[in-house]
Symmetry: C2
Subunit: 158 residues, 2 copies
DNA sequence: ATAACCTGGATACTAAATGTCCTGAATCCC
DNA sequence: GGGATTCAGGACATTTAGTATCCAGGTTAT
């Protein structure tokens, strides 16, 4: 899995502490000391996926496109890592016994179904958790996180 | 995910149709027209993991090390793809606010916990399905699969 | 003894992830 | 309008992981 997923998760949580404020890629990157240009690519992907909105120009930057309660972890994973399943079906049955090129063995093959069922539970679990849930749980263990995050962003020079 | 996982799944199912018979890597590869030497590496990994047993020399080959009911899909995935989670934790919090090198943020971080919970359901689902389950489901849709598989293996020249 | 087969390391090849750079367009401020 | 700031995105370069081949060494059946 793309490590940009982790960056995106944390950035979205941070952005949820800064509602209505446009934060530049440079500042988001500086927060965790990440490569700016590369993080910018992930932010672009989130924007294309409709998770963030972006504004060009001075005072521009990124912010959450909708309520954190409506952004699931699955949304982010799909936006950054793509919609493909981890288990790749290379259709080896086509080289096997009943070789019928017209059949899509992805649907028929029992192995494929079994792996797919596992990935389904995975996605369901991710879809059941939102950025708001994450943020809330962070607050419950360290209640000053939102304030200190805002403070840190305010003090970021670059 | 490693595509060897797919090869391993199908090979294990095939081997479950051939109990007590040692099948050479060359024949297992020929069944799906796979690269012999590379498939052999996956079979070695399965052997190291205790899923297969191997015998050297003429009349040698691989066979299941235990009852197909006791081989879960998770066993195979771990043997081929390794035990690591898909979500990689690069510990970016160490570059962040509270930077404490002594803390293992993998345990503390809420994002990490959320992703981990999803992977847990994934693994649980995989662990709940065995090679025997797969084989049984194949039989229920095409009852002649075991016989035709044995027949095809018997007719493989190389 | 020979041939077949597994083991594992070395190596090559290929694809994907990671990271950088640069041009162009949008926006703000003077 | 002009300059500065920032996003958008394409074009690379670099690094890492996956895929594939080969060979030398050990095991076993005949
Ligand atoms: S569908 Fe089944 S047989 Fe075909 S490639 Fe996927 S796993 Fe293998
Ligand atoms: S533990 Fe949390 S913060 Fe640390 S790297 Fe993993 S996801 Fe990021």
């Amino acid at each position: 899995m793309n490590e940009g997923v982790e960056w995106a998760m944390h950035s979205c949580v941070n952005l949820s502490w800064l509602p209505g404020e446009a934060v530049t890629a440079k500042r988001l990157a500086a927060f965790y000391n990440l490569p700016t240009a590369y993080l910018n690519k992930q932010l672009q992907a989130l924007t294309r996926a409709g998770i963030l909105t972006s504004v060009s120009g001075p005072k521009g930057g990124f912010q959450l496109a909708r309520d954190p309660q409506k952004i699931t972890l699955l949304d982010i994973v799909v936006a950054i890592d793509g919609p493909d399943d981890a288990f790749r079906c290379t259709q080896i049955l086509k080289e096997g016994p009943g070789a019928d090129p017209k059949v899509d063995y992805t649907k028929v093959c029992v192995v494929s179904q079994a792996m797919r069922s596992a990935e389904l539970t995975y996605r369901r679990t991710l879809a059941g958790q939102t950025i708001a849930d994450i943020a809330e749980r962070v607050v419950s263990t360290s209640p000053d996180a939102p304030a200190s995050t805002r403070n840190r962003f305010a003090n970021l020079k670059s």
